[in-house]
Symmetry: C2
Subunit: 301 residues, 2 copies
């Protein structure tokens, strides 16, 4: 089965103490869709401006992404984020954000996308996420990601979204912000009360926690020796997770979610090994599968 990914398609300029990387391919949908594409046919829904380089379109195509839902606005500017990392790569600050074509975008889902079973609402404004949900008709499993920005400026829309999705993915600080509960284990039932039956809290290098009708699952992260650039790791995680779920021919989401988290964690680990999407787009499915086996081995009793 296939995956529909909606989110930002962006140009990211990432500065580190050692180098500058201008206008890399970035955005939540770019990372998530490439990650999903390793496992299942993936349809990308996003918007870019006229400045969006052809080489990035080719990179999408190399990963077999269906681009029917990628809108190109004539004369428009692509969403552009620039940020800077500190020496230890743990803290980053935004230098500039140019919304460009994303500011007024009203996504229109192509007809044959409406019945895609796995829908990933990667990080983008909740208004856009709602608009996509208004158009899909046969979704089997809908996952949404979000960020602190939307909790700050569009909380009502986020809360309304939580009633419409199966699974919310967010990081630990966002879970604290959403629930005003300092302990993330305690935050989980509070998030379920807001709507989603599945909640996944991302903890970066410390792995993740899933809360589902089958109970808790503490998921490991792949222990990386070198983190080059963590931008997009969370998007790669949820993209890999959705791609893996969509690739399963039998059984329910519950049957496969733990292994899906393992696969998402591995794609996220590759993402961190290069700037932007450079490492993720170079990796092979065989390398992903080998690292999944390794992660399974180093986290089993």
């Amino acid at each position: 089965m296939s995956v529909l990914v909606v989110g930002t398609t962006a140009l990211d300029s990432i500065k580190t103490p050692k180098r500058e990387n201008p206008k890399l391919l970035g955005g939540s949908a770019s990372h998530a869709a490439v990650a999903a594409s390793f496992f299942a046919p993936t349809k990308l829904v996003g918007v870019v401006g006229e400045d969006f380089p052809k080489k990035y379109i080719q990179l999408y195509e190399k990963h077999g992404l269906c681009l029917k839902g990628l809108e190109r606005v004539k004369g428009g500017r692509t969403f552009h984020w620039s940020g800077e990392y500190e020496v230890n790569m743990n803290n980053r600050r935004t230098l500039e954000t140019v919304l460009g074509v994303i500011e007024t975008w009203q996504p229109a889902i192509p007809g044959d996308h409406e019945t895609v079973p796995y829908v990933l609402l990667a990080n983008i404004s909740p208004q856009v996420q709602h608009r996509v949900l208004d158009q899909v008709t046969k979704s089997k499993f809908v996952v949404a990601d979000t960020m602190d920005l939307w909790l700050n400026i569009a909380l009502a829309d986020v809360l309304r979204l939580l009633k419409r999705i199966d699974c919310l993915v967010l990081n630990d600080s966002e879970a604290r912000q959403l629930t005003e509960e300092d302990n993330v284990v305690n935050a989980l039932p509070r998030i379920h009360k807001l709507g989603p039956r599945y909640v996944i809290i991302k903890k970066g290098e410390h792995g993740s926690i899933l809360s589902s009708p089958k109970g808790l699952f503490v998921g490991p992260a792949y222990p990386l020796k070198k983190v080059v650039d963590p931008t997009g790791a969370g998007d790669s995680f949820v993209g890999g997770l959705m791609g893996y779920l969509a690739s399963q021919k039998r059984g329910s989401v519950d049957d496969h979610l733990r292994r899906a988290i393992l696969h998402g964690a591995v794609v996220a680990s590759f993402c961190c090994e290069g700037f932007g999407l450079t490492a993720t787009t170079k990796v092979t499915k065989a390398e992903i599968q080998a690292r999944v086996r390794e992660l399974e081995k180093i986290s089993s009793f």
Copy 2:
């Protein structure tokens, strides 16, 4: 087989925003020995002053600890630590430390303690840890814990100790301090080069990482809904781990270390649920085993 635990036996006064807890039973050896006692016969080696309450001796005895190696100094004062936790229980600061009898203590190991196979050098000065190693003759597995203080003021003694032990247990910030390497996965081979064949990095609520001749193991922490007082959790972790190893009749340390880490993590989780040793000393072995099964279940694929 039995476990020898040497470390501090202390009185801890722990202040939180909600209450004060004066002169609780504390110290690295108290926590570690009680934790080990759930699984194997445990011998405690430490020193207390005349002010050490009889009820705490009785608490040790309730856990079946052999106290032949617990020295009592007439007219002396027991080591006393007082500290304060902030609202979220993540940060603590030391208010006062009175070394008392520990300052000049030269441990003398009782004759029948010299051949104990599992030796745990819980956190105490490396000079005391060396002096214990000078006296044990048939150790099968020696584990040492340490803290930032000793890396600051007695680094040469710590480095000499690392050549004499099988396993070093330390937290992530101490691993960074010891190796001057920011990435803990990269810190591991550097610590092996300093001596120990086994290294365990404690990451608190995020679990632990073991590096051994058999490779890496990413160990989970038990997801706690409420942390009352994390003091002694690290000592409980390594104590439970050693007790479990000593309880295994067949096989090598390598065969049992992953499950030992699981058991240590569970005893540590109980430790966090009460001030000082209050929760740990109330729990039963059956409750520990039930939580081990639960942790195994929530961290398996």
